[in-house]
């Protein structure tokens, strides 16, 4: 019934049905203005017009899943690669991009390989990188560190001593927006990568549940526990959120010394506390772990965002032409101008035109030399796993559950 209805109707619909339109669905936020410009550029020359649709923040993934198989489905949509598109590939909704790439090799060769590979599912490419890369970095308030007579820690042991010194000064050592849960997850991502190496998590995503009970896994949990118990995050982190500005404000106003956050922290702070960014904001990588299996240069975070294409699109040529813009000079300049960091091979030559050149260059070099870029756990697993992961990390942090319960919860995740 649903199918026949969908096939007959639709001519009068605003979305999906238009005969000479392609709908581009993106995550609604400040970056949309660059996407709007790009769509305008595209529409100047193309007979098939692109229409930009946005879904605001937190509900993007749920809205996408509810419309993607119906007649409101877009032609092209924003995603995080990895597990975020796996269910759609499995359901046969997405178009493998081999043909596009065969006709226009730049769709692959013009992007950094490690980034491009995150959207490869079952050996086939399904996503073209768009927007930028967002590694998670350890941000700090240099003034607070100086007052306590410490510097940003390079190793985990240094971090523990720094925490003690800061606590003695009456400062919350690390700001954490635990109310959002994903900032808590960032600590797990990094510590697991440092201690057990990237292969460990990859096995877990592939369905090997035993790795969660491994010695490395337990060691990582033990180290985290030590940091929590040492008062590294204070006591009320679960009442703090990043998304309502709570945790960045802690850092900027000097009530906390560190925050582990995605690279967007910079522009967030720039908006609200420009003076702090100019004078006292520090940034660096996650501390190294002695004897750990993961390379100290490994990164974690959002590898990139991607555009994927639905099989049902009526205008594949137009879509291919649109995707070609993702490595154009205009795109790269536009993204850099608002603080994003695209991962095209031509990015480097435009870094000087970035909103904050030093910061962009620093990130670009990190990403380029990183042996592995760990995709955020909640995006590596399919969306259905997110709730469980968030609950497990939060309950481990606030002491409601111990390592065994955490391990059991992670073993119950649906495999990707």
């Amino acid at each position: 019934m649903a199918l026949s209805l969908a096939a007959c109707g639709g001519s009068g619909d605003s979305a999906g049905g238009g005969s000479d339109e392609i709908h581009v669905l993106v995550y609604g936020d400040a970056t949309n203005k660059v996407e709007k410009q790009l769509v305008d550029t595209f529409n100047k020359t193309s007979k098939v017009k692109a229409v930009l649709d946005t879904i605001p923040g937190a509900d993007y993934q749920s809205k996408l899943q509810t419309i993607i198989s119906g007649k409101q489905a877009p032609d092209v949509f924003f995603n995080w690669g990895g597990g975020s598109i796996k269910p759609y590939v499995d359901a046969g909704l997405l178009m493998p991009l081999d043909d596009f790439i065969a006709k226009d090799p730049g769709l692959k060769s013009r992007f950094l390989p490690s980034v491009f590979d995150t959207a490869v599912v079952d050996g086939k490419p399904y996503g073209i990188p768009m927007r930028g890369t967002q590694p998670v970095l350890l941000f700090s308030n240099k003034k607070v560190l100086a007052d306590a007579g410490v510097t940003a820690p390079r190793s985990w042991d240094e971090l523990l001593t720094t925490v003690k010194a800061l606590k003695a000064k009456g400062v919350t050592p690390i700001a954490l927006g635990g109310g959002d849960k994903w900032p808590t997850q960032m600590w797990f991502q990094y510590i697991y990568d440092r201690v057990a190496g990237p292969e460990h998590f990859q096995k877990a995503v592939d369905g090997d549940k035993s790795v969660w009970a491994s010695a490395d896994s337990k060691k990582a949990l033990g180290m985290l526990k030590e940091l929590i118990d040492a008062g590294g995050f204070g006591t009320n982190y679960d009442s703090v959120k990043f998304t309502d500005g709570g945790s960045p404000a802690l850092l900027a106003t000097g009530k906390a010394a560190f925050e582990l956050m995605g690279s967007w922290e910079y522009s967030t702070l720039q908006d609200a506390y420009p003076d702090f960014v100019k004078n006292d904001l520090g940034y660096g990588t996650f501390p190294t772990v002695e004897g750990g299996k993961g390379a100290p240069d490994n990164l974690a975070g959002n590898t990139n965002n991607y555009y994927s294409v639905l099989k049902t699109t009526k205008h594949p040529e137009a879509v291919a032409a649109f995707l070609k813009l993702m490595y154009s000079d205009q795109f790269v300049k536009g993204q850099l101008g608002i603080g994003n960091l695209p991962t095209t091979t031509n990015t480097q030559q435009f870094l000087d035109g970035s909103a904050s050149p030093a910061y962009s260059t620093y990130q670009y070099d990190l990403v380029k030399k990183a042996p592995h870029f760990q995709l955020s756990w909640d995006q590596a697993f399919p969306p259905a796993a997110t709730t469980t992961i968030y609950q497990a990390v939060q309950q481990f942090f606030n002491g409601q559950t111990g390592p065994d319960a955490f391990i059991a919860a992670m073993q119950n995740l649906p495999a990707a």
Partner: protein, 272 residues
């Protein structure tokens, strides 16, 4: 009557004034300062540098459009309810057919159906009807779920019309239609105003249906504007609170100019 002042009650009422007033004070004060000042001075401090930027920014970001959408939804919901519920209540009170009795019990059952319970198939139906991301798609279910309470209220009021009045008109050979227009509606004014107040509050406050059934900013209602504001512009508490103030302005105006009707209408929710 109870003439001498009741100090205990007076004291209690002042405590409640504090409970009600404190957050409202925080709300107002925060909206007139910049983010940095709010973070630096705390929620209770009076603004040092007074600014209207938060309001201006909010309006720039489309809040005017959200208002308009909310007004459209509210008017449409109230319209549907006013069109359908009075005849239904009249039938429930005056019909002697068994079918209407069953319908009444159906609506009583409807009181216990939370809108969350049907949200999944509702999404499916609205989507199939081509009404996804369309204000009409929000209006229809919102009106349907406002109907049980409205029916209960209105049939209660109509039941108070004495049978003698009906009989008198029937003896004169009046049709149900004439009785409805000349007797029932004029005597149900209080109930009708309660129904208007109740259904417009439902529409004005609606959250789940717009959350699931709309997506684009052209079709955003105020509650969604607030919700998305929280996730999209995460960091801006004063801006968010200014949006809260803006969202209450229209109802505040209604309250200032029609306090009596609004209050009477709400008292009616609890029965006469």
């Amino acid at each position: 009557m109870r003439g001498r002042p009741n100090y205990l009650a007076g004291f209690g009422s002042l405590i409640w004034l504090f409970v009600v007033g404190l957050p409202l004070y925080v709300l107002l004060v925060a909206t007139f300062q910049s983010r940095a000042d709010y973070a630096a001075n705390g929620p209770l401090a009076f603004p040092e540098r007074f600014t209207l930027d938060n309001y201006v920014n909010d309006l720039d970001q489309g809040f005017a459009q959200y208002f308009l959408n909310t007004v459209v939804v509210t008017v449409a919901v109230v319209g549907i309810v006013l069109l359908l519920v009075p005849p239904l209540s009249y039938a429930i009170v005056r019909s002697d057919g068994k079918a209407t009795g069953r319908v009444f019990r159906l609506f009583l059952l409807g009181l216990a159906i939370p809108s969350q319970a049907v949200i999944v198939p509702m999404f499916y139906l609205i989507n199939e009807a081509g009404l996804y991301d369309n204000l009409l798609g929000v209006v229809l279910p919102t009106a349907a779920f406002a109907m049980p309470v409205c029916t209960l209220i209105l049939s209660g009021v109509m039941r108070d019309i004495t049978p003698e009045l009906y009989e008198a008109m029937t003896v004169d050979g009046a049709t149900p239609w004439r009785i409805f227009l000349q007797l029932v509606l004029p005597l149900s004014k209080s109930g009708l105003s309660t129904v208007v107040v109740f259904s417009s509050l439902q529409a004005w406050n609606g959250f789940l249906f717009p959350l699931v059934l709309t997506q684009s900013s052209e079709n955003k209602v105020i509650t969604m504007g607030l919700y998305d504001f929280q996730t999209e512009h995460g960091v801006d508490i004063p801006g968010l609170l200014a949006a809260v103030v803006l969202s209450m302005l229209p109802i505040l105006l209604v309250y200032l100019f029609a306090r009596r009707a609004l209050v009477q209408g709400l008292m009616g929710v609890g029965g006469k």
